[in-house]
């Protein structure tokens, strides 16, 4: 059998314990965190060095077998699902922080380091790694780079692509390529670094990254405001953005607020139609003044019910924890969640939220809306039971309707989760033929035999 000779070859070339093909393990690696998607991998490999990654790709190329890179498997776009089988290459065995330079303010890491581990290591030098996706305690930096992860501080600090200075990566021929450098000012050659950020393992497998760190703010303050309509909350977020770029400006609709309060009570207003969590960082005085200024802006907005600022650090942490648990807490409403990731211009937030609510009504599905209002990035989450075919059909059609929303105002169908397998057909539908063909040619240049994460970007 083909799979067996592939596994034999991998075992011959890689250290003992690196290759696993037991049925239960293959089953575990068949999925990522995306509902409704699964594949059938032939083998799972866990290399511990860039040379081993090269070996895996070379062997795979000989066998024309797909290689799907995987970090923590927390992808929400089915980017880590081996839709055409083959090898799942897990980077969990390459998790060393190779260097943190407090003068240059850069970190050099292997791809399997978790986002939180890097930020914690940076904190010891008074530095911070700003991207903080909801899954940061498990998500890996390789995965963050591959999908262009964002987080709760995106409005002020941007997303992963603002922090990658250089990469080492293995292309589809099993050859290591080097992009960018250690320095920020660098226009030598094409910006291949930026091209690899968000390429979802379809162009090359990242084996090392140079990341930019920033000085860690001395203090952060947080507050909460509640509103009697969701549109009012969204408009208020736009009003805040017109006065600056706060670090945190998060929206939670009443569906989310209620499930969160049932799980980790943080004193959120369960009678409100929506809640905004806001805050900013800087020196002690800056954090205080900026957060007070946001509160003043919010108090002057229409349909505001209450605005308060966390009095203690514990209160602030409770508020943040509440926001962070919104997705898992929504899972209490139903066993399956389909989480979307649309981005619209901040000035269109209110209209977008309204459009999502009408989708929920038309398709008779439960949708909880939370997201990063500060950068127009919303996560409408459809909650249903995938064992019920009718519910699943309604969920799928609601999802398609949500994808159509951002195009109205020049937005994007994914802000930080990536396209993966889940959004590929929707991306095709909103991309012109010339651009689509160019993406396929770029893919072919990196990966002539289409073995890197096939069935995703560049090969559909």
């Amino acid at each position: 059998m083909e799979a067996e000779t592939l596994i034999d070859d991998l075992r011959r070339m890689l250290p003992v314990g690196t290759v696993n093909a037991t049925p239960a393990v293959l089953r575990t690696y068949a999925r990522d965190a995306t509902a409704l998607w699964s594949g059938r991998p032939d083998a799972v490999v866990t290399p511990t060095s860039p040379i081993e990654v090269e070996s895996v790709v070379r062997i795979a190329r000989r066998h024309r077998a797909p290689v799907v890179a995987r970090g923590a498997g927390s992808s929400l776009s089915a980017a880590a699902v081996p839709v055409h089988g083959g090898i799942v290459l897990s980077f969990t065995g390459m998790d060393a922080i190779l260097d943190i330079d407090p003068v240059e303010q850069v970190a050099v890491v292997q791809p399997g380091v978790t986002t939180q581990a890097l930020d914690a290591a940076a904190a010891r030098h008074g530095l911070m790694y700003p991207p903080d996706p909801g899954s940061r305690h498990v998500s890996t930096l390789g995965g963050n780079i591959a999908c262009g992860a964002g987080g709760l501080r995106g409005g002020k600090y941007g997303t992963t692509r603002n922090y990658v200075l250089g990469l080492r990566a293995v292309d589809g021929t099993g050859t290591t390529i080097v992009t960018g450098s250690r320095v920020e000012k660098d226009v030598a050659g094409y910006d291949l670094t930026r091209l690899l950020v968000g390429s979802e393992g379809t162009l090359a497998l990242i084996t090392e990254a140079v990341l930019r760190l920033v000085p860690r703010p001395e203090a952060t303050q947080y507050g909460v405001a509640s509103f009697s309509t969701v549109e009012a909350a969204a408009s208020a977020a736009a009003a805040v953005r017109s006065t600056g770029r706060p670090a945190t400006l998060e929206l939670l609709d009443h569906v989310c607020v209620r499930v969160i309060e049932a799980h980790t009570p943080a004193g959120l207003d369960t009678e409100a139609a929506a809640v905004l969590i806001f805050g900013d960082d800087g020196t002690e005085a800056e954090a205080h003044d900026r957060t007070q200024a946001i509160a003043r802006t919010l108090r002057s907005c229409t349909d505001v019910r209450s605005v308060s600022i966390a009095a203690t650090d514990e209160q602030a942490q409770e508020i943040l924890a509440a926001r962070r648990c919104s997705l898992p807490a929504l899972a209490r409403l139903g066993p399956t969640t389909l989480l979307e990731d649309i981005t619209v211009p901040v000035s269109r937030l209110a209209e977008a939220v309204k459009a999502i609510q009408s989708v929920a009504q038309t398709h008779q599905v439960t949708i909880g809306v939370f997201g990063h209002a500060g950068d127009g990035n919303l996560h409408p989450t459809i909650v249903f039971d995938e064992r019920d075919p009718q519910q699943t059909d309604r969920a799928r059609s609601a999802m398609a309707a949500i994808f159509a929303i951002p195009a109205r105002w020049g937005g994007s169908l994914t802000g930080e989760h990536g396209v993966g397998a889940a959004k590929l057909s929707y991306l095709r539908a909103t991309t012109d033929d010339a651009t689509w063909a160019l993406m396929n040619r770029v893919k072919a240049a990196f990966d002539p035999d289409n073995i890197l994460n096939p069935g995703k970007l560049g090969s559909a």
């Binding site: 037991t22 049925p23 239960a24 393990v25 089953r27 799980h263 980790t264 648990c325 898992p328 807490a329 899972a331 209490r332």
Partner: protein, 323 residues
Amino acid sequence: MAAVADGTLPIDDPTVVEQAGYCLGCRACEPACPAGVPYGDLLERWRADVWEATGSPVRIRLLRWAVKRSRLITIGGRLRGAARRTGTVPTGTDVLFLGCVERLLYPGVSRAVTRLVPDISVAEDGRCCGVLHSHNGSPSEGRAMAGSIPLPPRDGVIVSTAGGCATHLAQVRGADSVQELSTYLLSRWQPAEGAHVVAPRNRGRRARAGFQDSCHASHILGNGSAARRLIGLVADFVEVPDAASCCGAAGSYAILRPHDAREVLAVKLSHLSRLDLDYLVTVNPGCTRHLAAELRRTGASTRVIHLAEFLALASPAVPHSRT
């Protein structure tokens, strides 16, 4: 589990069998899960299905058989000198439940409880609460066993000195009827004026004491602060890093998988060696046994002791001696 449920993997798949036994069942995942997945219940049923198909390990079958010998346990407890109903007539309505393992291995624990709370009655009846059955492939039998434990009259509560038993009983009989010792003592006991536990190696100095949580008491019942406060009343309390994570004893886990149990404890042992405690206080006999054995092996001088016995050391009425 999902793969077995949907038929992708057979119930006797080697990895499935291995993983059903490998999990400690500490249930730390339950309070952490915002989606409210009842993992403990899923694990119990999964383990039962797997072992039904492949046969339970011999040690587990022996254990399940042994804890049902209630008359022998009753007699054994008496021979070992566990607390008895005799002596001063209890006036309270609360009943101390003597766990089957504890009364045989650590009879001093129940005696210490009756010293701390003289009006508590003692249920000498050697019936097991069924927690070992529940965790080891017979959840329905385990529930039935807990259901057959007589409840105290009127508004009394069953008091258990074992975190595992207390949690199991509370889950089957209702949290209003059952209390784990630490929360019970917090409202019922206070040290005598000035009483404290002295350090064994340096008499006169207050002892330095740490605490190891019982997984189920802390994750499911939410207990933990009570024991820490009680210890702090009579000694210098030292928080042990990762005290709330499992020590590896995990009920019968240390008996069934001694190697894995030691590996789980290894990290904790390195913390403990740095802390140089006089006492490490526990609220579950499995933890006491595992921690004491492993600390002895490493030559540490820290003494592992149950909360009841530890607090009894502080009582001026009791001479400072090993129970």
